[in-house]
């Protein structure tokens, strides 16, 4: 199937009223969780994942993807109007977006952020289509050693990109990998770490673990420290940016599209990283860097475009290789696997409706999001006024129902709550959850490819270095590990001396 007929198939799939409804549902929920601080797209996706079991694979994936990219739109609204990021990728938008709103320019700030997001999102969808094909073709030649090395490199990049301590990120990756080994070993059929529990024989479910670590833990953290929200009392007018605004924003939007897309391909919290990188580049190359932080429209346009473009980039490794680069993609992988669909190089040929349906739904979803976030901005301003005391019980109830509905078993609720406590405690000690959950998802794949490689090579570890792609990937991983370890060592040494 060529690209053109693929796109036609995709539009046929997504314009089916049911899929269109789920696409709208996804982007609506995405905007909602983006607007509301206290729950992010990962939490919302994990809560809603069990409800997609009864849906068709296309509908469920379209809805979950909509939550992911929809949250990027919604997050900017809270950043601009409340000075609190609705979700992590919009942190940097607070700097200039809120200042613009304080100067009575909330309209153009919201407008450029929605339109920039649309441009970034659209660019990334086109780039995704053209990159996935050659990558998937190349990936067809990959064997277990290549897959092992690529997954290994993903984990190294993940720790490299972690916002906090490098050592803590490695520890979280190891914990995630260990958790991934629970259940029946697929090669030998031996039950590992199930301690006699039949519920653990299939391994720990992704949904209760993710819901606990992201949904419950987030609520518990918010219970301690109340989120104080004061919405800027300003009239939102002139949502469409002026010609002067466009002239200043077009450069940041173009650069943000490229930065976001290419960073999105890399493992890690790419929407967050790309928005920060875009902001710092715009500030650096600006003729008037002093204006940044005072309400410069470039500081809103660039990062908001970048975080949306990153969402498209994130789909490249998932769709072409079957390797999720971030937690949201890990959840999408989980959702596809529930329907017996394995993402990877064969997805395009085996399930063209899922592949093209997803891609075209992102385009349709982006159009819906512009409409939701510009003419209907008033709704989201009202949503921002919903008090947390009403939201908290609803989030928890969704988690409880979500966990129970996985297999109508209360054990999943218990697992979720335990992981909620674990997540809450780990946050207290400044550990990041993303490396843990991603390693948990990737762990079984890593082990399978490692063991198959060893069986293939009759126990010769050199197989990983004898194959060119695997060798290059491992060398890059080693260099990253050495450079990060070295800078960590220097930092520690510096602290001891002082």
């Amino acid at each position: 199937m060529d690209v053109f007929s693929g796109i036609l198939t995709g539009f046929q799939t997504v314009l089916d009223p049911v899929n269109l409804l789920f696409c709208f549902g996804g982007v609506f929920i995405g905007t909602l969780v983006g607007v509301l601080p206290g729950i992010g797209p990962v939490g919302a996706m994990s809560i809603l994942l069990p409800t997609t079991y009864g849906l068709s694979p296309v509908s469920s994936i379209i809805m979950l993807a909509g939550i992911f990219y929809g949250a990027m739109y919604g997050g900017s609204t809270t950043s601009i109007l409340v000075n609190i990021p609705g979700e992590a990728a919009s942190v940097v938008t607070c700097l200039d977006g809120y200042q613009m709103a304080r100067k009575g320019r909330a309209g153009p700030a919201l407008g450029i952020s929605a339109l920039g997001s649309f441009i970034g999102g659209t660019f990334s969808i086109f780039a995704l289509v053209f990159l996935v094909f050659p990558l998937a073709q190349t990936a067809l030649k990959f064997g277990p050693p290549e897959y092992f090395s690529i997954i290994f490199m993903s984990m190294i990049i993940l720790t490299y990109m972690a916002a906090g301590s490098f050592v803590k990120a490695i520890l979280m990756v190891l914990i995630g990998l260990i958790l991934g080994t629970v259940g029946i070993d697929s090669v030998s059929g031996v039950a590992r770490f199930s301690f006699g529990s039949t519920s653990l024989l299939d391994g720990m479910g992704l949904v209760p673990v993710a819901m606990g670590l992201f949904g419950i833990a987030e609520v518990l953290s918010n219970l301690e420290v109340e989120i104080k929200r004061s919405i800027l009392e300003t009239r939102i007018k002139h949502l469409l940016p002026t010609l002067q605004d466009w002239r200043r924003s077009i450069g940041p939007i173009i650069r943000g599209s490229f930065i976001g897309f290419f960073l999105g391909i890399l493992p890690g919290p790419s929407p967050v990283v790309s928005s920060f990188l875009s902001y710092s580049i715009e500030k650096k190359i600006s003729r008037d860097p002093g204006a940044f932080g005072q309400g410069a429209i470039e500081g809103v346009a660039g990062p908001e475009t970048a975080n949306n473009a990153a969402t498209g980039g994130s789909f490249v490794p998932l769709l072409a290789l079957g390797i999720p680069p971030n937690v949201s993609m890990g959840l999408l992988l989980g959702a596809l696997m529930i329907h017996n669909i394995i993402p990877g190089p064969l997805l395009i040929t085996q399930h063209p409706n899922v592949f093209w349906g997803l891609i075209t739904s992102m385009y349709v979803g982006n159009i819906m999001l512009v409409l939701l976030n510009l003419p209907l901005i008033g709704i989201w301003v009202k949503v921002l006024k919903i008090p947390y005391r009403l939201l908290m019980p609803l989030i928890l109830l969704c988690c409880l129902i979500g966990a129970y509905s996985i297999s109508n078993n209360v054990v999943d609720i218990v697992i979720m709550v335990i992981f909620g406590i674990v997540g809450y405690i780990l946050r207290k000690f400044d550990y990041e959850m993303a490396p843990l959950i991603l390693a948990f998802v990737l762990g079984p794949m890593l082990e399978k490819h490692f063991r198959t490689s060893l069986i293939m090579s009759d126990g010769n570890l050199l197989i990983f270095l004898e194959r060119p792609i695997s060798c290059v990937t491992l060398i890059i991983s080693a260099l990253l590990l050495i450079s990060t370890g070295f800078s960590y060592y220097r930092k520690m040494k510096g602290r001891v001396i002082t």
Binding site: K168, T181, V187, L220, E224, L397, V410, V417, F429
Partner: protein
């Protein structure tokens, strides 16, 4: 920032790593030619121990130690809310099947709404309405809830 209590999880990781190594060893490590089910977790447990010990050593070698616990102090004000919410979540798991979805959800929501609000009328109405709406909505989505003591109705 370094707080004394940050050392607790490091000891936990070391203990966990050792435990994983012991349990994996019992599962069978196999060899490189034919890796056993315990090989991968054993290696992971080993690396967990090594990195945790390294982290412990660098942690202890740092000079600056803040005696106070900023996080703990910040959280102490509302710590009872945490216990209440956690207790209600565990109670939900315990009571869902014997009492059924509607009654358990109503009771737990009553506690959850009450955690951050103290107006009885609001709590009652919000809990009742939410339980009913959730029941209808998720039932429509195909989720099968236990009926519990309302089985005959």
């Amino acid at each position: 920032m370094k707080h004394k209590y940050h050392v607790i999880p490091i000891f936990f990781w070391i203990g966990l790593g050792l435990l994983v190594m012991i349990l994996s060893y019992r599962l069978g490590l196999g060899g490189l030619r034919n890796p056993g089910p315990g090989l991968m977790p054993f290696l992971l447990g080993f690396f967990l121990c090594v990195i945790a010990v390294y982290f412990l050593l660098t942690f202890l070698s740092r000079k600056q130690t803040l005696e106070g616990t900023a996080h703990a102090e910040q959280g102490r004000i509302h710590v009872w809310r945490l216990w209440l919410v956690l207790a209600s979540l565990f109670a939900y798991a315990l009571l869902l099947e014997p009492l059924g979805f509607l009654i358990t959800t109503f009771l737990v929501l009553l506690i959850l709404f009450g955690t951050l609000d103290n107006r009885w009328s609001t709590m009652l109405i919000a809990s009742l309405l939410t339980a009913l709406i959730a029941y209808c909505l998720f039932n429509y989505l195909g989720v099968q809830f236990p009926k519990g003591i309302l089985r005959g109705f």
